[in-house]
């Protein structure tokens, strides 16, 4: 068997393990799906009148506008959960056993990220289904839905890279768990929940420069209007930027972990 095939098998096995881990324990899946769903329902019902504000982009409903935000929240939490699970593996000594196995180190991180990507895929399907069930239309049809799914899945993997880097660096599940409020900060300071132009300063300025806003717009446009090449390109570039950051941080953290044991 070629080295490439072996690596693919390792990544697949570790990816499947992380997916099973999440779906077997309701307390892991709850923050990823249940919290964003509750918040989506409450924000849609509570702030739904916002669509009447001057300057609000033309949308069928506030739910349609909010779907992208719910997906982003879910994928960010999936990335955080992936980091927590990796940190637990480090605390329990499972990662040490993997380090001593004849498999490339990157495959260990990639396996975890494959699991996080699967959660991102699940989240995008879940929220698209919720949207459709409650009457939100996907304006650009199947192609737009597929584009949203691909972007959300890729972004989940990218964000998971940062979670994995922090887990590898600290080796502490409680530290990674402590980043949960930071996830909320990054989300609130993006266009996930409201159009940037209608946000209050300084949130508006920060949201304009937050790369997550670019991903949000890339996911939202196919849902509320149509596929926009520029928005899609910016979203892809933002995801690539997050991937690059995650790779750099993970590589450094992995070296640190191997050095300190």
């Amino acid at each position: 068997m070629s080295a490439f095939a072996v690596n693919v098998r390792v990544v697949r096995a570790l990816g499947m393990r992380s997916i099973r881990q999440t779906f077997r324990r309701p307390q892991l899946i709850a923050p990823i799906v249940v919290f964003p769903t509750i918040l989506l329902a409450i924000q849609t019902g509570g702030a739904g009148g916002a669509v009447e504000l001057p300057g609000f982009p033309p949308v069928q409903s506030f739910l349609q506008f909010m779907l992208a935000g719910a997906m982003m929240q879910s994928l960010m939490l999936a990335g955080n959960s992936g980091g927590i699970a990796l940190a637990v593996d480090i605390e329990m000594g499972f990662t040490d056993r993997l380090f001593s196995a004849p498999i490339p180190r990157f495959a260990i991180v990639l396996g975890r990220l494959a699991g996080t990507a699967a959660l991102g895929l699940f989240a995008s399907l879940w929220f698209l289904a919720i949207g459709l069930v409650f009457g939100a239309e996907i304006e650009s049809g199947v192609a737009g839905a597929l584009l949203a799914i691909v972007l959300v899945t890729a972004c989940a993997m990218a964000v998971g890279g940062i979670g994995a880097a922090i887990a590898l660096r600290t080796g502490s599940a409680s530290v990674v768990q402590g980043l949960f409020p930071l996830v909320l900060v990054v989300l609130f300071l993006s266009s996930a929940f409201f159009p940037v132009d209608l946000m209050i300063e300084p949130a508006r300025t920060i949201a304009e420069y937050n790369p997550l806003s670019l991903v949000v717009e890339g996911v939202r446009e196919p849902i509320i209007s149509g596929i926009d090449a520029a928005d899609t390109l910016y979203a892809v570039l933002a995801i690539l930027g997050i991937v690059l950051l995650g790779l750099l941080l993970s590589a450094r953290a992995l070296r640190h972990r191997l050095r300190v044991g």
């Binding site: 919290f35 916002a50 909320l184």
Partner: protein, 263 residues
């Protein structure tokens, strides 16, 4: 030799409640980091919701001038919800580690053990509430007046007691910290399915229906009145009644589980 005078039961009960509250306080003093999530989460929600949904005040029918004033009681109540749920998580940890078993074999009545947990959460909830309030006032929220402040803090402390009863009920039922998301989600759902984001008339269909029957809406309105207008008895008594009802129901459930535990 003089015979020892027996301590009256009420005094022994008070001493036990005091000791349990002191234990919770010690935890806070010895591990200050443990209080950070309870303080940080409502603060982030306050700053985030204010920055994101602040423009909602431009809607017709939204009579409050600033969104800071409108949303700050929600964040204070959220802090109470998180603190109460954390009390449930701590009780679950005590069950897992066998600490509660030792309390159960003591002569202290079960209601006293529950009261210690609940009252400690009530007192602790004033920390995030004060922190969020200070930030809100610094950012331009209206001063609620002394009477408004007292009503708000009373509602916050009582809401923390409600949340602690809910958390304790789940902790005693499931005997595991894994129930933590249920404790937090339950309180989050109860507090946010009210007039949290906008006045009742501006809520959308289903949420308007739920908010109308959710007793916490009355608590929110009572806690908010000083920030958006003046304090009146008409706005206050429904909140007090709602809290009494919630405490009775959830307190009874928690006490029933406490009595069943170890039998």
């Amino acid at each position: 030799m003089e015979a020892a005078v027996p301590i009256p039961a009420w005094r022994a009960n008070l001493a036990t409640i005091g000791a349990l509250m002191a234990r919770a306080k010690n935890e806070l003093v010895r591990v200050p980091g443990a209080a950070i999530p309870g303080v940080l989460a409502p603060t982030i929600f306050f700053l985030g919701l204010n920055g994101v949904f602040g423009a909602l005040t431009q809607l017709r029918g939204f009579e409050t001038g600033t969104y800071e004033s409108f949303i700050v009681p929600i964040s204070m109540l959220q802090g109470a919800g998180f603190t109460g749920a954390a009390a449930g998580v701590n009780l679950a940890r005590d069950i897992e580690q066998g600490w509660l078993d030792r309390l159960l074999v003591s002569p202290a009545p079960r209601w006293v053990l529950l009261a210690g947990t609940v009252l400690a959460a009530s007192a602790r909830s004033l920390i995030p509430a004060s922190f969020v309030l200070a930030i809100a006032l610094a950012l331009g929220a209206g001063w609620p007046g002394v009477d408004g402040l007292l009503v708000t803090f009373f509602m916050v402390a009582a809401m923390a007691a409600v949340a602690a009863c809910w958390g304790s009920f789940l902790a005693l039922r499931f005997k595991s910290q894994s129930a933590a998301p249920l404790m937090q989600a339950g309180m989050m759902g109860l507090i946010l399915t009210t007039t949290a984001y906008a006045p009742l008339a501006l809520l959308q269909g289903w949420l308007q229906d739920i908010a109308r029957v959710n007793p916490v809406t009355q608590v929110v309105e009572a806690a908010r009145q000083g920030f958006v207008g003046s304090v009146t008895w008409t706005e206050t008594w429904p909140g007090l009644l709602a809290l009494t009802g919630l405490l009775l129901v959830l307190g009874t459930l928690a006490l029933r589980e406490m009595r069943r535990t170890g039998q």
